[in-house]
Each structure stands twice: as C-alpha cells, then as structure tokens.
Subunit: 430 residues, 2 copies
Amino acid sequence: LSDSLNIGIAGLGTVGVGVVKLLTEQQALLRDKCGRPLNIAAVSARSRNKDRGVDLGAYRWHDDPLALADDPGVDLVVELIGGEDGVAKALVERALAAGKDVVTANKALLAHHGTALAEIAEGNDVSLNYEAAVAGGIPIVKALREGLAGNPISRVYGILNGTCNYILTTMRETGRDFGDVLAEAQRLGYAEADPAFDIDGVDAAHKLAILTSLAFGCPVDFGHVHVEGVRDVSALDIEYAEELGYRIKLLAMASHTEHGIEQRVHPCMVDADTPIAHVDGVFNAVVAEGAYVGQTVFEGQGAGAGPTASAVVADLIDVACGRRAAPFGVSVTRFKRPDPAAMAAHQGAYYLRFMVQDRPGVLAELAGVLRDEEVSIESLLQRSRSADDPVPVVMITHETREDCMIRAVRAIGGLDAVLGQPTLIRIEHL
Amino acid sequence: LSDSLNIGIAGLGTVGVGVVKLLTEQQALLRDKCGRPLNIAAVSARSRNKDRGVDLGAYRWHDDPLALADDPGVDLVVELIGGEDGVAKALVERALAAGKDVVTANKALLAHHGTALAEIAEGNDVSLNYEAAVAGGIPIVKALREGLAGNPISRVYGILNGTCNYILTTMRETGRDFGDVLAEAQRLGYAEADPAFDIDGVDAAHKLAILTSLAFGCPVDFGHVHVEGVRDVSALDIEYAEELGYRIKLLAMASHTEHGIEQRVHPCMVDADTPIAHVDGVFNAVVAEGAYVGQTVFEGQGAGAGPTASAVVADLIDVACGRRAAPFGVSVTRFKRPDPAAMAAHQGAYYLRFMVQDRPGVLAELAGVLRDEEVSIESLLQRSRSADDPVPVVMITHETREDCMIRAVRAIGGLDAVLGQPTLIRIEHL
C-alpha cells in the first residue's frame, strides 16, 4: 500500500470542488493517516472552462465521466454527479465492474439501486462507500455499519433534511408562514430554486431508505417509505405545538414493528425536552437504538461543501488503508427479507386541528365521528375568536390506528360545520 | 476469513460477562456481519467457581490470564481486567508480541502506556482496538480515527464520566448536597464503593488523554492533563449557575491553543442552551470540531454492561472482517510532537464566589485585589442574608489568564473579611 491511491472525480459542483480543496489542502495529513498519498489523477465535469476557484491543471480531464471507469490510471471513482439514473448510475456500475472502488454522495441512486450496486461491488471485491449520502458530515453510515454492528437495531430516526429543518426552525422563531420563510431560505441558499425534493420529503426518504437497510440488514426499499413533506405546516400549528409542549420536526423513522419494517417521513410533534427537539437550523441528527448500546445520538451539519467533503474523504481514507466493509454492513447474500409494514397499520397519537363554525352542536358532531372510528381523545383545546370567524378546535388523541384516524379525519372534513382541510400531525414520544 | 475468529477473554466482571452474553445471544447476527463465527475459545478470571449467570463450560479455562497470550487456539485477546499496570499490561504486551490482536476497555492502561502499546501492535501487524475505553457505547474512537479522519481537529470535549454527571444532575434537580447524592449514587450502583477515581476526575482524564491522541495524532500524554474533580461543587453554586443561565458539568477538553495542546478536566459552567448542558444523568457526550465537518456531537450511555459490550464487540467485528487501523489513527512513527500548554496560560472567564462579612469596605478590598491582577469583572451578584451571617458575593469575570486569576483568588482568600475557601469555577462558552 505504499503507492498512491489514484482518484478520479466525476462532478465538480459545490461538493466536488470541496473534495478537491480538502484533498489538496490536507495532503500531508492524509498521507500521515493513510501511509500513502491520496492523488487526484483525473476529473470530469460538464464544462471544462468554468472557473471553479481551484486549479484543475494537474489532473487528466475527461469530457465523458464514463471514461474514468476505463482509465487505467484511476484506482477509485468518486461519483458526485447525482441523480438516480443516467450517467451517475452507469458510471458507478462500470467502475465497480472494472474492479475500481467507488465513493459516492448520491442518495437517490442508492435509495433506488442500492442493493443491486452493492451486489456488483461485492462480486468484484471492491468498496462502495457512501458516508456523504446520509446526514452530510455525521459519520452515521460508519456508525451503523461498524460502530454499532453488534446490536440488533430496533429503531433509527432523525432529522435528515437541513432545508426543512431550517424552515421549521425559522417559522417557530419568527412566527412567519411557510411560503415566506421558504422564499428567504432560497435567497440565502438554504433551499434550491426547485425545492420540491427537499420540502416534499423525498430527499429525507432517500436517506431513510439507506439507513433502514444499514440498520436492519435488508434490501433498500425506497418504494415502501411513507412520505409527506412540510408544505402544509402552518404558523398556527407551530404555535399550538409550542403551547402543548411540542416542537414540529420533519422526522424520518424506520422501526421494527409487529407488522414488519415501518419507514416513514412526515412532520411530527416531538416533546420539547427531547434532544431531537433542539436540533435546529441546518443541523441534522440521527438517533439509533440498539439492544445493547441503548440510545445513541449523532448530530452535525447535514450538508454543505465542507461537511460533505469530510465524509467523502473519510471513505477515501478507508479504501487507502485497505479497510473494506460490505456496503450495507452485511453481504447482500445474507440480507434478511422482512415484510414492509403498511402505514395504515401504524399506531400512534395524533394532533388534529379543525376550523369550525362557532355554533351549538359542532363539537358533538366531531366527537360522534371520532367515537365511530374508536378514536379516543386525550385533550381538547378550543378558544373562541371574534364572533363570526371560524374557530380552531385542537385535539390530541390517544394511541390510534392510522387507518381509523384517516377515515375519521376525512369524515370530519366533510361535515358542513367544518371549513377547509383538517390538519393532522402525528405525535411521536421518543 | 471463513474460519472462526477464536477469542480469549480475560476478566469476567460485569463487562466481561456482558461480552460473553452478547457473543452467545447474537451468534447468528455476528456471523452474518463478519461472514464467519466469533467463537469464544478460552476465558480467564480470578475465581473459576463463582456463579456469573452465564455458562462458561464450553470455554477453555486459564487460571493465569497470561496463558491466553500463549494459547495457540486463541487469535485475539480481550483484556477486561483493568488497571494501568500489572497483569493487564503484561497480558496486552504479550498478546501483541505473540501476533494476536487485542481488544481492551482499559482506559487507565492506554492513558499511561498507549503510545508504547500502539508501537508494539504496529510492529507486529496486529490490531489494538479500544472503543469501549472511551464513552462506553458511543463509537467515538472510530469516529475520530476514521469517520472524521479527513479533518484537522481544533477541539474535542465532552462529558466522559457518568458518575459525576449523575451526581451533578441529581444535585441540580433536587437541590441536595454533594455528599448526600454521592451516598445515594453508591447505593444505586452508579458510583463505586471507592469513588475517588470517578469523582476526582481521574477516569475522565484517562479518557481525555486517549481522545487527545486520536484527535491530534500525537503521543498519549496523561501527565499533562490538568485534573480537578467535583467534590467541591456545592448546592449553592449550582443554584447560582441556574440563576445566571448556566449548568455545571464536569467537562473534559482538549484543544489546540497558541501555547500548544491544552488538556483539562474540571467542573465548568456551560450555557444552559448548548447541547452539552442537556446531557443528563449517566449519559456521556463528546463534541468534536473539525476544519471541514464543523461541530459534530455524539451522545449515548457511557458505561454499563450492555453499552460497553456493544463497543467491545464492534472492535471484534472489525478484526473478524479484516479491517485494521493504526491504534491512534496515524502510525506512531508519524506522530506529531506538539508542546503541552501550561494551565497557567489558559484564558477564560471565571465564576467566583466569596463568603464575606457584611460590613462596609469589603467589596472595595475584593475589587482592589482583582484590579491589581488585571482581572476585570463582567457582573456581580450580592444579596444580603440575615444580619450576622456571612454574605455570598458572586462575580463573573471577563476573559482572564489563569495564573492571574489564581493569584487573585488566593489573595482574596487571605483577606480578614473573607470566610472559608473562595470558590472558582471556569466558564466555557461552547
């Protein structure tokens, strides 16, 4: 292992440039850690002449990223192109098949094709490392794959999308509305011009699907993640949450239930005194619960050039030091095949808010519908506003089955006295 | 790697039995993770006939733990005897020299002899893994050694002793005194019969010395850790801390300063709204600050059979999977040799409490001493009590050099109007 590890980097956006910078700025440190140099041999990106603030002159240039997989001077390919299919997938497959190690930050790719890619990596005796794909700089992939590997994991959950967490944090701190705060986040660069992937929960769901496979040793199953985003979280509900002792967070959670593996991403009310309630702004956090270790919490920056480069380079160091793990901790040949749990079978408490006309009998109507679905109410909040305005009725339920709850809310939404869409937010006692 | 990894375990106390239980209960899981069985081949402990609640009948018994190092049927020795010298050290040295991998939970041993043992391990091409030695089940050794390895680390700190944290948490929650809470902790099994190692800060200092070496790639230097324990923390100071917006924690901190590497363990006032302020009871937490990753936080149970066994077994899995790292992340041959920073040169803010006679001129005397040492006061709290009782005067200083502060406090302690020992607690804005 005394020769340099020759690296080919595909994709020179924020993260790619961050990786180039870290590798050049920390050459001496990395040589000390690895006992050999990490050498950028070749790069590929869309435009050769764009000024990226780093000197690429010393690296071989490939217009076609796939050429990195064929370049005999490249030992390892870093895939930072992104996207679940297309050239990113083709490049990873081709590099692995050519016997090259691969490091990627591509959560969409792994969420959709993780199992198949792991199979190719294992079949070719090479590494497929992706620390940067989940929770940025937090070394949670390594923690689940290695550090907690002696534990059957019962549950893993966390705040996996910094954009949503920034928006929810700012809404709470300022009392402003979602659209307003989103627009500001876009101006500040915390949200993309097209924010759908983040705010609709898809990005968090990609990451969760990867964590689930790592935690439970089963195939990546993005198709069975229940996904809801944060578009419908209102300033009013954040205010009520505060009053009731909760914080609203976009939580991603995978757990072993009696019905199988439950994977879900949606806004949650969490008790204000749990650690996760205090993870604010662009920070991410992951909680893993193991049979022996108990509860462990990992927190840090979930995005950005520096944290992501830190994770990519940690993966490179492992390869340079000759350390390899099966991509998902156990070989795909030994994967368990647990059933997915239907969201309809989910059990939990719920926060409900209905805007109703302030007239006699309305509460009896609501209560009747809930009784018919066997939903039992733990507490109820109703304050009258000015005479003719609709009045918010807020309820917290006891543990209830999701399908009963959904039917009840639909029925209530159809009542004449109920105006607009009812709001339902799940409560999570962590 | 298809044969079993044959393990010899020395020491069958709480942790040793915890490891035996995990290895037997999770055989199938571990075989899946490693691709081969983890097999307990031999054990050694003081008394063969003691009932430990696990069946040891299938394992070879050695009265002399050193025999594990010579046993040709043992590939790897787990050292759970404890103690910085004596048989634990002899066993680890002999096993490494015999080409066997070693896993240990022994922080005292590593704090005193870590560099020398790492040298032997590296010279014999074997692993010396010690995840369980620092922060129990939290995989912080792996995080610093591998997960954050691309970062120059500027600072690492945390709550590393569960006993002290339990005592401080309970004192705050109940308003009770130190001695009272310690006695209760001993009854509950959270503190040892001889609690000195924990409450005097030595245990936390051992762990810090190890973290320092991992973070900065330098020899383990326990001798330069400044250590103070929690015996002198009073209910009154905890009350004042609360009032001033702080929590008192026993913090262990290593940082790069302009004077060199500063390592210190002592009670600290930390802002009540930092994550570390909310790490309560027997939980541990470690914060690492890297140049690229920024701030990362790791939290979990720092002691107990389950969490410690989880860490020991993670180390075993690494060996079984053929993953090896230099014990301190970089080879001892590439260690940096930074100067230790003298505590006298430490810069920080301080909380001071003096019990004074309530008579004219006292405050002028105190203020005069502080002025002479160029200590500047940020805020001052004085409330009169009943007529003849001594009155507490509480001060928060601006940033001050430690040696000036110590001289000033000694001088003030010598004033006639000042009764008893002044209290000094460092303030840490994290």
